[in-house]
Amino acid sequence: MTTKALSRTTPLTVISFALVAAWLVIAAFPFLWTLWGSFKVQADFFSKADWTNALRGVETLRETGSAFTGQGYYGAWVQEDFWRAVLNTGIVVFFTVIISLTFGTLGGYALARSGKRYAFWILMAALVFRAMPHITLVSGYLLPFFEWNVWGILPTTIVVLVAINQPFTLWMLHSFFLNIPKDMDESAMVDGCTRFQAFRHVIIPVMWPGVITTGLFSFLLAYNDFAVTSMLLSEQNQTMIPAIASFLGSTQVEGNVMFAVAAVVSATAPLFVLVMVFQRQIVSGLTAGAVKG
């Protein structure tokens, strides 16, 4: 009876349905529009006369003989060497995630099992570090990096992204390890394991769900970063996001905005797949801090 009463249609539910529907359109439409439009020519994607041109591809048909064209993608990936940026992003993201998680699991485990006063202080410091705007940190890096001649290369960026990632990774893995019962590793130590052996043989096999969730957020941070990568990488080492930003400067002059549109779609596609596959983990990761705190 309760469920029936709860799901009765009232004006309020109608309004809330309408609101959800409106939100879904607002959330999804820009992506669908840009995806569809990326296969058109510029005259269609930016059509002042009639916005339905972008749907039907009138100009695209006239210019290329078909309603869809891969010109934008060809221009971005081949002409403008976007594949190089994609490759760089792959390298940066891969190493950032692996190193972040290695450091983070060790540190998070230690913090969860310590219970000492200094462990709490480290967590507080991490919270402060997490709030620092990245660009303020970057303004601290530039001068020393120029002096030491390590500016512009991928390893420097990876190290910086790992460090920027640490506060968040620590907090997340710390709260995750708190949920693994202490008895597990402590009984292994009673049986004669050292702390590290207990970690290696008892904790590592059961930690993967937490590590995967944390890894997703490390991935997003490294993949989405603009402040660090745009300031610390030289032109030929650029990753995708700064490459897209610099596309804008050059392509608008040449009238090749479609290159940038194609690049934007290419950069967004992996994120779509990520959300599709790991939706549950992303939701649980987002709420972990909130629901417990």
Binding site: S16, L127, F129, M132, P133, V138, F272, V283, A290
Partner: protein
Amino acid sequence: MKDRTFFWFILPTLSAMILFIALPIVSVFVQSLHIQHEQVLVVSESCGPFGCEETSAVDQEATRALREAQPLGKFNGLRTYINRSHLAFAEIAEEWRAADSLGTFLARVYNLPFYKALAFTLTYTAVVTPFVLALGLAVAVGVNSLPKLLKGPTIFVSLLPMIVTPLVGSLILFWMVDGDGVIGATLQRVFDDPSLSLKASPTLTWIMLMVYGIWHSLPFSFIVFYAGLQTVPKDTMEAAMIDGATTWQRLRFVTIPHLAPLATFVTLMQLMDNFRVFEPIISFQAQAHATSLSVVIFNDLRESGNPLYGSAGATSMMTIIGVAILLTPVLIRTWKAGRASAAKAH
């Protein structure tokens, strides 16, 4: 855990944070106290038939040598902090004396670069945060009453604006509101004004950036509230219904109080994130009408071939102070929670 073991476990992560977060903050502070060397001038006297003339020229060679020898520049104390592009005390005092009304005074102050950036940053933070909270809650309540089958896809779509790269997400919107883009062109037709451009007017630019901010952050508050709704106590809900509470009253007196702690959490996270607003201003190419503290730092560092480390450092330090002020409630809250859980353990 023994102190020794703890040390080895924490060493990698701690050294990463000290080297690349704590030390850079120190480095930023040191930079902010220095200013770039002025150009070295050589004065030469050239004598002609009509007397002697002194000409001064820039000695490029010596300037470069000096700048290379001391890349930090020369010590400048706190003067960078109070110069025209930062706190501008002298200019403000001047305007205060000269201005005939408070309105003109504020308008003049707004034209100073630091205050212009601060004004936008604060307005953005203050406007986006409440909208994100309210709309996120509304969408969460709506999604919660959807049939089970629809929930998964709805959450998938809802996550997209937040997951997508901020620079890319704002670019996508930027192209749509372009004068020739689908939204921009439609607006021109609706208002029958072919010259209507969202980029040209400061007010519209601000609104556009804030709409983007809400679009981008709404999913976060939605997800948190949605998770909170799953834990609303069923007993209280049923009791309220038996007592004859309407849907609205149940929402107002049961659900919202239950979600209040989550709202605090979302607010604090949003305040911190919105305060560092950066990418959308770059994507929207809106710097003529709206700058934020982060953008000011970015531009100083981008100064072609000749980054203004001192100036960027001073703005960075002031941004860090701003973040620290925003962060104080979070710290106090975490501090108390930590103390409570420590007390429980003993």
